[in-house]
Each structure stands twice: as structure tokens, then as C-alpha cells.
Symmetry: C2
Subunit: 365 residues, 2 copies
């Protein structure tokens, strides 16, 4: 142990009067092969503690051929917490979950292209780059959250690296997935609104580009049907982009219609920001003149009024995603199946943003 640097297993071995390999076994031995006697183990641990020894993760990684790094490719270029609240929070949960299992998360933006800036030779951008970057970093697995195309996923998957897609998977690639079933939460939300007396409930969300979006819309329509309500086709305002601005425009359009809905369901917490802005501007008070429910429950609780919302179990998604990568890396015969396509439930959280509709239903455009 030289100046400054940490003690190594050799230092511990010398002090404890055992071989270096024994020290290694004490620290990294799998349970299956408990090769070390209790006496030796105790002595080694004591010496290690005294010296402040811990195994060098890089040396372990090199030897084991495991980097301990999991790549995370978030849905969009994350910009601000309001624009993309879910990926932000998911990233946090992933990082936590990974750390608990001794992994790290590195986040890679597909379009950001960090690789190019390092190796000037490489000039072809985008898809190619993401995969190269991931491979050059020797990640042990990759977690995709809503890739724009199947191409990236396909390439990474084909390279043999464990892949799991979460929340918004590209279903054409047969990777493991962890998705969220919007139905339970949306059913509860709609039931809640209907119980309050609402009949005209509008939907502000995205259309059929992603299966996930379709699923939310379908769940919404199905939930209405449960109460013998048909959706007002014109009150399904489908935004083109998942942005507050698009939701704002959609809501304005909704408000200018001859017969206004009495409640709005916004299919994302960033969308609800735009919805609220439009309502505020039009002086439509929430919940007095309009009930509002959102999906995501990331920002909802802290807005005004606190917005009732359908919560996704993001912490569990992160937890499971990391666990799945870990399981894929060290397959146990038993658990092989059954966890490759996990679907988690949503739940509805009521808040002050809903109340019975006003009896006066004149338009105020």
C-alpha cells in the first residue's frame, strides 16, 4: 500500500497471514462455494476493517467481464422537469435501484451524440452512434424508455446485450418489457367523475402514434362505456406533441365549442400544465367550473389546485427494470420465464381538482 492509494487484497492477505486468493474469496465468494472457514473469514475481515480495505471495483469488473454499468436511454431529450417530468423521476428511481444492486446508470441521449465529440473520426451520427457508444462503454445492459424507433433497440438487442424497455416499448422488438396498465387508474378516475355527476368528459392526449397513447385513450373510452357513456368524438382532443403548448391549444379549442365538457382528463402531467393555463386564461375556475384529472402524478400534487391524478408506479418500474437486467445477466433456470413482460397497475389519487358539475351549463366562450 503506497502513499495515498487504497490498500489492496495483497495488503490484507499479508497482514492476515493468508493468500490473496483467500481474501478475494472472503469478499466476493458466491454462497454456493463457501470455501473459507469461519476463523479465517473473521480474521480477514478484521484486518480488512483495520486497513480500511474494500475490493477495487474496476479490477473486479475487468476480471469478471462485467462493467457494472447499465445504459439508460430516456424517451426524449430531457430538457426541463416540467417538460418531461416522468423521465426525470424515472431516472432517479433507476439510479437508486441500480446503486442498491451495485450497478451504475449512465444516461445516453440518442440524438445528443456524445460519442462524436470524443472520437473525431466518427462522423456518422444518430442511430449508429448510440449503439457504438453503448458498446464502447461496455454496458452490461440497456434500459430504453420510449425509443422513437425500433431501430436502436433492435441493434442493441441483436448485439446480445440484455435489454429491457419500460413504459413505452417498441413491441416489434422482442425484448423484455415493463409496462404500466393505465386501465385501473383511468377506470377509477372516470368512475370518480361520473359519480360526481359528470357526463361530458373530454380527453386531452396524444393519438395513435404510440401504443401507449392509444392504450390510454382506449382505456378512457372503455371506462366511459362502463358507465354507458359514449365519448363525444369532438371532445377527444388529440394533441400532436406531448407538450404543454399543444395541450393549451387543445383546451382552448375545447372551450370555444358550443357545449363545453364539465371535466377534462389530461393524459400527462406536462399536458395538464397547458390545460390549466388555458382554463385560467379563460377564467374557468377549477374545480368549480371545470373538473380536471391528470395522468402521471408527478407534478399534479403541487399544482393549484392539487390535481387528481392517475399515478404510475415509477419507483417499482425502476426497481424491476434493474432487477430484470440483473436477472438477464445471471439467469436462474427457475425465473427465466414469467418476468419478461411485466405489467404494473396504476391507481387513482383524488384531489381537490374535482367536484360536481355546475348546474348552469351555458357556454361562456
Amino acid at each position: 500500500m503506497k502513499k495515498g492509494s487504497s490498500p489492496t487484497s495483497v495488503d490484507v492477505a499479508k497482514q492476515a497471514g493468508v493468500s490473496q486468493a483467500t481474501v478475494s474469496m472472503v469478499f466476493s465468494g458466491r454462497q454456493e462455494r463457501v470455501r473459507v472457514s469461519d476463523a479465517t473469514r473473521t480474521r480477514v475481515l478484521a484486518v480488512a476493517a483495520a486497513l480500511g480495505y474494500s475490493p477495487h471495483p474496476l479490477a473486479q469488473a475487468l476480471r469478471r467481464q462485467r462493467s457494472g454499468i447499465i445504459g439508460f436511454v430516456p424517451r426524449d431529450q430531457r430538457t426541463t422537469p416540467t417538460m418531461q417530468p416522468v423521465p426525470f423521476l424515472l431516472g432517479l428511481h433507476l439510479a437508486r435501484a441500480a446503486m442498491q444492486r451495485g450497478y451504475h446508470i449512465i444516461e445516453v441521449g440518442a440524438e445528443e451524440n456524445p460519442f462524436v465529440s470524443q472520437v473525431s473520426q466518427v462522423s456518422q451520427v444518430s442511430q449508429e452512434t448510440l449503439v457504438s457508444f453503448l458498446q464502447s462503454r461496455r454496458v452490461d445492459g440497456v434500459i430504453f424508455d420510449g425509443p422513437e424507433t425500433a431501430h436502436d433497440v433492435e441493434r442493441v438487442f441483436a448485439s446480445g446485450v440484455p435489454v429491457v424497455q419500460v413504459i413505452r416499448p417498441q413491441l416489434t422488438v422482442s425484448t423484455a418489457t415493463i409496462t404500466v396498465d393505465p386501465a385501473p387508474g383511468i377506470n377509477a378516475a372516470v368512475a370518480h367523475l361520473v359519480a360526481l355527476g359528470h357526463r361530458a368528459i373530454a380527453f386531452v392526449g396524444r393519438g395513435g402514434s404510440y401504443p401507449v397513447d392509444t392504450l390510454r385513450l382506449d382505456s378512457f373510452v372503455a371506462a366511459l362505456a362502463r358507465h354507458a357513456l359514449a365519448p363525444d368524438r369532438d371532445a377527444l382532443h388529440l394533441v400532436a406533441h406531448y407538450t404543454p403548448d399543444d395541450a393549451y391549444a387543445a383546451t382552448r379549442a375545447l372551450l370555444s365549442r358550443p357545449v363545453r365538457p364539465t371535466a377534462i382528463f389530461a393524459a400527462g402531467d406536462n399536458l395538464v400544465l397547458g390545460v390549466l393555463r388555458a382554463l385560467h386564461e379563460a377564467r374557468v375556475r377549477v374545480p368549480e367550473a371545470m373538473s380536471v384529472v391528470s395522468y402521471d402524478d408527478v407534478l399534479a400534487a403541487d399544482l393549484y389546485p392539487p390535481i387528481a391524478s392517475v399515478a404510475q408506479p415509477l419507483a417499482e418500474v425502476g426497481e424491476r427494470a434493474v432487477a430484470l437486467i440483473a436477472a438477464l445477466l445471471d439467469p436462474t433456470p427457475s425465473e427465466e420465464e414469467g418476468l419478461r413482460h411485466l405489467v404494473l397497475a396504476t391507481r387513482f389519487i383524488a384531489r381537490a381538482s374535482t367536484q360536481p358539475p355546475q348546474s348552469s351549463d351555458g357556454a361562456g366562450g
Copy 2:
């Protein structure tokens, strides 16, 4: 090169008819010692490209005794983007900046204590653990954002690892710092409000526990003084905790006073959420009945109405922090000094949340 695994420098060397050491020089040689002829370099690069070779980062790291990992200890336990918007965004900027330089960020919560769950022997929590964890991970440097006490920082700093504190430094430890000067932005904000005709401007923020909080308050008071305005002592509502709830309570107190302020300055974007809730509840319209300005500009733009805000240059903070760690790791004689205590400026962004005060200044509580 066996099945599945990536090609190594040996593979490239064989194909190119050179020694492995030469391949290494081509890829990692410092400029100082340009040991390789152009012909050889070209040939090696061609073969490498054909084989899809890139240096194994773990092997490099082990050999160089550089993990390439920078630890990030965020200000608080990050929970949701609304509760702690700044650390979320800062984390993103740090990750981006690190990646550009070939580093990774791993995030460590001081109280979260991820280490304990792995090594059951360790039972003493908190401070001790953070440092051990960082050391066991062999981080090359640590970035602190607002440590609660100086203790952690001190220990890491004492261990010889490069440390930089950002935004909310503990000044008792003589690490490098990157801070933000609130004065320019706050001056502009106050000037803006005064120009609109506001004279009674309240401050919702935290008191003297942190230098940074004091600085914001002092900047605010100083800005008032520039316009020959004295702060109404009772309109400096200091919240105990940096939470929307505390700001909500403070704002309610403010509204119940006999003479209401006509404008509120909230010293953080999470605080402004509480401020807006209190105003909405009391049916005080923004900006008609109350102008509102916030600090941070992370959430502000997407609230209703869009809140004028003092923006911190978070991207630059992240960029500089990583650059500083890198510089500390490879000191260049020239730049040693001058970058150890960097102070960046804030700027004010006007939005629809301000307007001249109403002439009728009766209380409505």
C-alpha cells in the same frame, strides 16, 4: 477475439502487423510523445475500424488508476421534480458535461445510505458511510451541491480527492467552489417591479441558515435600497424549510396583514408553487392583484401565469464543475489559480406575472 466479446488491442495488433503497445499508443498516446509514424497510425486505425475496436474503458481505468467516475452529492434527498427542481436539472447538466469529457456521474445521497444495504457488517450510518462509499467506488472527484454540514465535505476533501462545491458551498472547507451571484438577477427583478410602480414588495424565502439564503435576502434588501426603498420588516417572510407548504403558510400570513404587499418575490421555484396556491385560494389574481417573481427559473415558465424569474446558469455550473474536477486531476501549472472560486451571474427573465399595482390598495383578507 472470442465469440460475443469485443475485439482487443491484441486483435488489432495482429491484423495490422504491429505490436499491441503500438495500438495502445495510437489510441491513447498523449500529444507530447507522438511516437507513431503516420503510416502506422493510419494502418492501425483502418484495422481498428474494420474490426469495430475501441479501447476497453475498464482496462484503461485500472491501469491508469482513474475510474472516470465523479460522485455527485445533491443538496437534499431528491424526491420529486417539483420539490427539488434545481438538483434534478443540475444532475442532468452534470451528467451531460461529464459524458462529454468521458466521465460518468454517480449520484449519492448522504442519508440514503446505499452502502449499508450491501455490506451488512457496516452498521454506523450517515457521514461515515458517504465517504466510505465514495472511496470504495474509487471516484476521481466529488461534486457537492449544498451539503447540510461541512463534515462530509471535510472528510472527502481530506482524503485527497478533488472536490468542488456548487451553488451552496460550506465555506469552512477550502474546496474549489462554483457559486452563483444572485445580485444581478435580483437587482433587475426589483428594478422591474419598481419601474412598474411597486413599492411594497414581500420576500418569501429562507433565513440565515445558509449563506446562500442570506445572500438572496441581502441582495433583495440591497436592491430595494437602490431605489430608496426600505424593506417592510414584516413583509420579509422567512420560511423554515424550502418547501411549497412553508411558502404557502408564509403567503397566507402575508395576505392577512392589514396592508398587503403588491408584489411577492419567492426565493425559489418550489416556493413559488406554495405562493401561487395561497394566492389562488384567496382569489388574489396574478398579476392583476399581485405581481409575482421567482428565483431559479426551472418551473417558472410553465406555471400559470408564466412567472417572471431570476435564472441561474445551471448548465454552465455543471459544465464548469466537471471541468474543474478534470483540471484538478490533471493540473496544468498555468491554470492552477483563478478558477478555484468561480462566481457566475444570474439574469432576470420578465414574464406575464407582473404588472403595475392596482390603484385600489384596500385589504381584502
